[in-house]
């Protein structure tokens, strides 16, 4: 059989595999991806050695198909064999190296003896002080914390739980859907987040597909940064949850000082969700629009305090911010929540307040990194 016959057979099987995956039939998808990979690998073997470009594309395709079939050893073996061929074009060598790293990540998940929900979210932080494969530790720690908070909130939201106003998620949620951090293929600073599968089979409602947690997370995040806030209202009808997601989304979005953008996507999406300083502006506009007009606040003058957040006491309803070395106490935190405000402690913040004689009252807070 010629390259074209084998490649066509591979195409057909891969299209059927994609369809099975979309239908939620993972086991059939794996069988079909294996079949597609066998054909593609044979296509690579019969290919005329002078056809370098076709060879590069076919090699990447065959390794990708073994990877999608979760046959990681076959994928790794073929990737190394292809990389040993010095006539392979550079574009395909880059793709193959990225595939090898993805194979390692997936293999390490297998050996972790923990099951993960299908779908993971790849996160890349770009620009500013961020370089390829490296980023300021405090920046990454804060973004990882916010992503974890948003995942927990997403799980609580899709389980129809009442909005959590204080403290972290319940022990059940933390133990059942723990997010894990993995190294992701290089390019800027990248990592991926996968959700551990709940051991309790009925953890999610029967009509809820747990494999959509990652997608739901991304759809909510995408809607928070959209100029059309009707989208977010459709996905998250509960106004209080909506408000929390907007604030967590804003925590993720850059100010443009330390880094330029943060991109998030699933493994199957070519188009990432990119949060930029413009996204932060859009989220701020949405939050301001949705803020209730408090009669007490409307009497005072609205102003912005720029300083370091030194302390937060949600139970006693105040925060302390150091402005030019002088402490300022801000009262009336209202619906401020631990996971939104907690990661900001000891970091530069912008606090919007209303000031009246003897009282500074809280309106909003955001990072000013």
């Amino acid at each position: 059989m010629s390259w074209i016959d084998l490649h066509q057979a591979s195409e057909r099987a891969a299209i059927e595999a994609d369809r099975a995956l979309r239908d939620g039939n993972q086991s059939l998808a794996s069988i079909l991806y294996s079949e597609a990979a066998e054909h593609e690998q044979r296509a690579l073997e019969v290919l005329d050695a002078t056809k370098a470009r076709t060879k590069g594309i076919t090699a990447v395709s065959a390794v990708s198909l073994w990877f999608k079939a979760t046959a990681y050893e076959r994928a790794e073996q073929l990737a190394y064999s292809a990389l040993a061929d010095l006539s392979l074009p550079e574009f395909s060598r880059t793709d193959l190296r990225n595939l090898v790293q993805a194979i390692w990540t997936e293999s390490s998940k297998k050996t972790a003896n923990v099951n993960f929900l299908p779908g993971q979210v790849f996160v890349s932080v770009k620009g500013g002080e961020v370089i390829t494969g490296g980023a300021p530790l405090d920046l990454i720690v804060e973004k990882v914390q916010t992503i974890q908070s948003m995942f927990y909130r997403t799980v609580e939201f899709i389980r129809d739980m009442p909005l959590r106003r204080r403290g972290g998620p319940t022990r059940e949620i933390q133990e059942s859907c723990r997010p894990w951090l993995f190294q992701a293929p290089p390019g800027s600073y990248q990592f991926s987040v996968a959700i551990q599968e709940p051991k309790q089979l009925d953890f999610f409602r029967k009509d809820m597909r747990p494999d959509l947690v990652a997608r739901q997370f991304l759809e909510i995040l995408k809607a928070t940064a959209s100029d059309n806030q009707d989208q977010l209202a459709t996905i998250v009808p509960n106004v209080e949850y909506r408000n929390v997601f907007l604030k967590l989304g804003r925590n993720l979005a850059p100010t443009g000082k330390t880094f330029d953008s943060i991109e998030l996507r699933t493994a199957t999406d070519d188009d990432p969700i990119a949060l930029t300083p413009e996204s932060r502006t859009l989220i701020n506009q949405a939050l301001k629009k949705g803020r209730p007009v408090d009669a007490q606040d409307s009497e005072g003058n609205e102003e912005e305090l720029n300083g370091i957040l030194r302390a937060v006491d949600l139970d006693r309803d105040f925060l302390d911010v150091s402005v030019n070395g002088q402490p300022v106490r801000v009262n009336g935190l209202g619906d401020a929540m631990d996971d939104v405000i907690g990661p900001m402690v000891n970091k530069p913040v912008k606090v919007r307040v209303t000031r009246k004689i003897g009282s500074v009252r809280f309106l909003d807070i955001e990072l000013d990194d």
Binding site: A14, S61, S64, F67, F91, R215
Partner: protein, 126 residues
């Protein structure tokens, strides 16, 4: 004029997710647009880590290999205005300039809200 079969309940369920629907719809619309304006049709498909690439060539080309095919890089935006579509196309051009792709290629960005398709050739590298 585009003729298509209305999706049945099974298809609607399979593509109920907005991301899947946008991605697949963008492939369909961009392939139709490229054929209409440039006479290029999809001849091959090859898998990648994150999905699959389509390869296009002039109608009637004997595609025994991929040596002269053009890779079609597709993006779909389900919301946003013309400026968002142009911005996405610029991002694709910047990515190509950094040599991250197997080129020659054409980028197509489909805006479902703005009802626009933006198409541009990407540079050559590798």
């Amino acid at each position: 004029m585009v003729h298509f079969v209305l999706p049945d309940e099974h298809a609607l369920d399979a593509y109920a997710n907005e991301i899947d629907a946008t991605e697949t719809g963008a492939y369909a619309v961009s392939l139709a647009a490229i054929e209409a304006i440039a006479g290029l049709v999809a001849v091959r498909r090859a898998s990648t880590l994150t999905g699959a690439d389509w390869y296009i060539a002039p109608t009637g080309t004997n595609s025994e290999d991929l040596e002269n095919c053009i890779r079609l890089e597709v993006s779909g935006i389900n919301a946003g205005a013309s400026s968002d579509i142009r911005r996405r196309l610029r991002e694709k051009l910047i990515q190509a300039a950094h040599g991250a792709s197997n080129l020659p290629a054409i980028a197509a960005v489909v805006g479902f809200k703005a009802l626009e398709v933006a198409i541009a050739p990407l540079g050559v590298s590798g």
